[in-house]
Symmetry: C2
Amino acid sequence: MSQTTHTEEQQEPAGSKKLAAVSVLKFGGTSVKSIARIQHVAEIVKERLKHGKVLVVVSAMGDTTDYLLKLAHQCSKTPDQRELDSLLSTGEHISITLLSMMLKTLDVSARSVTAYQLGIFTENVHNKARIIDIKTDNLAQAFETCDALVVAGFQGVTANGDITTLGRGGSDTTAVALAAAAGAKYCDIYTDVDGIYTSDPNKIPKARLLDRISYGEVVEMARLGAQVIHPRAVELARQYGVILRVRNTFKPDHQGTSIDGGEDMEIYRSISGVATDKDQACVTIMDVPDQPGIAARVVGGLAKKAIVVDMIMQAFHPTAGLNNITFTVASTDLPQTIKTLEELKTEMGAKAVHADEDIAKVSLVGAGMAGQPDIAARLFETLGTAKINIKMITSSEMKITCVVSRGQADKAAKLIHDAFELEKV
Amino acid sequence: MSQTTHTEEQQEPAGSKKLAAVSVLKFGGTSVKSIARIQHVAEIVKERLKHGKVLVVVSAMGDTTDYLLKLAHQCSKTPDQRELDSLLSTGEHISITLLSMMLKTLDVSARSVTAYQLGIFTENVHNKARIIDIKTDNLAQAFETCDALVVAGFQGVTANGDITTLGRGGSDTTAVALAAAAGAKYCDIYTDVDGIYTSDPNKIPKARLLDRISYGEVVEMARLGAQVIHPRAVELARQYGVILRVRNTFKPDHQGTSIDGGEDMEIYRSISGVATDKDQACVTIMDVPDQPGIAARVVGGLAKKAIVVDMIMQAFHPTAGLNNITFTVASTDLPQTIKTLEELKTEMGAKAVHADEDIAKVSLVGAGMAGQPDIAARLFETLGTAKINIKMITSSEMKITCVVSRGQADKAAKLIHDAFELEKV
């Protein structure tokens, strides 16, 4: 019988058969974009072998995925999804073999495996498949013949033998799923930054590197544009209790930022950072006659097109009996959103669809902000004093997000960072 | 139970479960080297669908394989063979997906499969694996969901799930093996020439396109440098009685050259062509003390390094009791050959190893030349009259090969073509 680890779809615990002390390392596309960088990665892997076996997950080299996408779009404006996934999977297939060759030249017993070869099973969906199952027996078996197992990120295989890709954050997700399957305590995400900061250090020089942050906070920050690690991978890490460590490929001795449950974190820190996201647009469907479930119809209609609606606001005009429903979507989804809403407009008897691209989200994130109303007050006051108009507001237990004009977003973030003295957290 | 077709290793007949009327088409790297060419190939495939299902085997696009090899050699001077095979397999993996996408845009129900996905099983050898087994059930099943099945040539998978490549002529071999497994009568090899000529038409303008040639003749011609189709694929076609058709991708209406058993061919034609091969070198191990089995030791020692020895000549000097063993190898194998012989030299008590790179083979090929000694006589006379020195001679049932100085090879071929009036065959 094969031990299995159910990952993204089911919440069962990992299989009982554990591998002894495996380090799990993930390197993104910029970390393997040239042969020189692959050599650098190989040296990091070799160093890690002093502490036991190593499982390495790699993305495609630099611009390979873009190149393959370009080829696909030269064949077809709407490439067949099954074929596209199979094509894109070659990007990681190339990088795993090169890294393994390089490791071999460093006398490391290395072995590359595609998702197909290892058996990273996903649901039968293309372009954004979720991992269903990784056979821990396969992992244990693969490690019998090597010290460093190099696994292609971002890809999977269906029960029918079709190749799938995991979509955005796919390689991070592969790494976390494998760490869970291998029973590893840590999953190290190597990237080209030092870790997670209180805000974008390119824009706010005072921004400070965090030693530690909770899963929840990093998900909020990632959703808000601080894309060091994809929220989906963080959610999976939380589910399996894998501690993520975001580290800099080019400073392998730095510890980076640990992401964990944050159990004792709130006692010393209520706010962890401020994040901005400019790749957003705001859409309003106007004068929708009041009926039960109109918001659900809008969100549901968009969900069918795989458009994720984020902030949503419904304003009712009591005398007219009409509603305006406003929400934010990713800028890339805007054309499709407008098209879908125009169809819904007639169906729902609404008057117009209005889009506003001049927006950005600025968010204050912190696990300890719940129940501290003075934080929101200070935030709004900071923006108000600076005459930055707030277009929308939402808040959750660990964040407050304000939509402002796109041109004012960086200024807003800087003012907030100063007002909350985030450089001292 | 799965029906299986044993191909390169065993001579059993193909499985009894046949697919109804499948056309098998193979396109080489130049035929798919750009998106425009892939579109052209897709149109040929679509046209063929009028006659039933189509199985298409494709090579990697243009220079992809060279590019991947270059990457591998940047990682390591001697890349790990398992990793190299896995890397190289991505070349065909890319081209099958692009061709399938293109077919889909032409409303063809197409589906790409790698060797891994289809189950083209090979022996567990890298870089030049032989096909052991193709499950005809898998083929039949794959065709249930598509009209055009696009299969990656040149690659295979071992029982352990390692990716292999088939080496030179690999894609041709894949196509023939699949034609045999599918029970197809024909296997069409699309290339960038019109078919097989009596000699190289670039060098001998009188050279004539042959409508038909026998397996044996084409193997001899291919071994001698006329590389339209790899002899290995021809041998496999002969074994399974698959009729090969060499056709021009850019003149899809031309019939090209058929390659078959040539049963009734010799009654009208004794000579089919003249071929030259300049990528050859001649090596002599000198003054080997006379002992039984010395030639076997030389050839065996080279075989261990996968060096194929072609023409071999042993000259015994009775008074000295010493032998000179001379043979030809591919130029690319020369450094390794010299190295191996230098080792054997001491072991065998020989005096010296001598290499001659200034050679070329010129061969006259024809199924009907056996038992006609006047053909050999006329050949030697033609070269003698032109003062072309013959360094070595070998002959078989359907060819006579002369080794001459490399600079004289083209002239020799032209003279022979004229002497035998091959433009009239």
